[in-house]
Amino acid sequence: MLGIAATAGALYALPLVDQHREVSYISVAPNGGNRESFHINIPVDRVMVGAAEQSTASTAGVDWPEDEILAAASAEMFKLRNERGDVVGVAARAVAREDDTDVIDWVLHLPARGTLFFNMQAAPQESGSRLGRLRSGTQEFEPLSGTVVERWVVDQSGDEDAPDGRIELLATYVGKLEPVE
């Protein structure tokens, strides 16, 4: 009986899953909301790049399906880093050509916190960055709306082992608008 009680007590009291949490570096945006910066070092953080007619030498043996229906679609998967450079999650970027317009979506999956789903504008800004809107969030991001700015930053450090550059994702979170009663 003691063994049964001890096992039940242990299963009840001790967490079976405890996700590792890195410190979140969040700042307050001047016009309200919170701002958080993520980045992806290219090519070291790239898990997958899938696109038609790609070079398999650069993709760790990943074969993108040759179906004609996927010819205008591509997908990438990355490790996602926080502002300090620690890996905090996994990200996916999907691009497709629909009716002469690019459809670009980002999914940022942070296991200890939740997932962010951004739908990006087809046309980039003059500065080269691209804006996106938070379409859905899970867990701690579920009650939020917000935006993201995506931009490519070329590495200029000149270090021998430096990455080619980084994709920066600057997310801004605000509470969802509620109707006034």
Binding site: G3, P30, A73, A75, A94, T115
Partner: protein, 238 residues
Amino acid sequence: MKYVIALLLGLVTGAFLFAAGLIFNPFSGERALSPLSVTDAQTVTLSYSAAASDAIVFTNDGESSTKPYPEKVLQLWEAPIRQTWALATVMRDARNETAGYGIKLSSLSESTRLLAGQATVNSVWYVYLPGRGGLFIEQTENYWDYIRNIVLPAYRSAADIWKGTWRGNMTSGPGALGTAKVVGSSGEFANMQTDGVESLAVNVWRVDSGPIAADGTLLIELPNQSTLPEEDTLLELD
């Protein structure tokens, strides 16, 4: 000394009895039919192979029974993503033709409670169907039935393999009826908000490589009209 040994043996026996009761508990698991299986609304049915070797990419921490594919793909070994696995795969329609691709990101959930028959996984899908649009699917999955009906019998088998026919709904939330939340991104799915359910059908599972013959299915209900308000304007960023 004999009392200490008797106590230890009693504890171990009790632990085994409790584990056996948990695994063979007839009142736990085996969820009923998904509410979407009886819906009157139109649905989109997408299937994929759940075997890692059939995927475009499958990766995890590299130490789980299911090995990353292709072999050289980057593994998710860092502490915050060690309990996460990622899958990119071809999605097929009801005629078994390529309909698009899907990316699934899954992590073990801290809400796992084996006492309540919940081995929970938080997962999201991004599905893109050329010509139709993109979908984001958020769900919690309960792997308890999968573990006790397939994984544990495979470990108990002398050949380290489970063979049979098992089919189950994996989705357990966040919808009140055990459905996934589906948000449309583009194309005909733009601004759509609806429900979905993921199920698995497994025939062969090996201890050293995970599912060998297994198929997953995503069933997505199509609402009659868009339910998510359009927001054209993006917030100005400083």
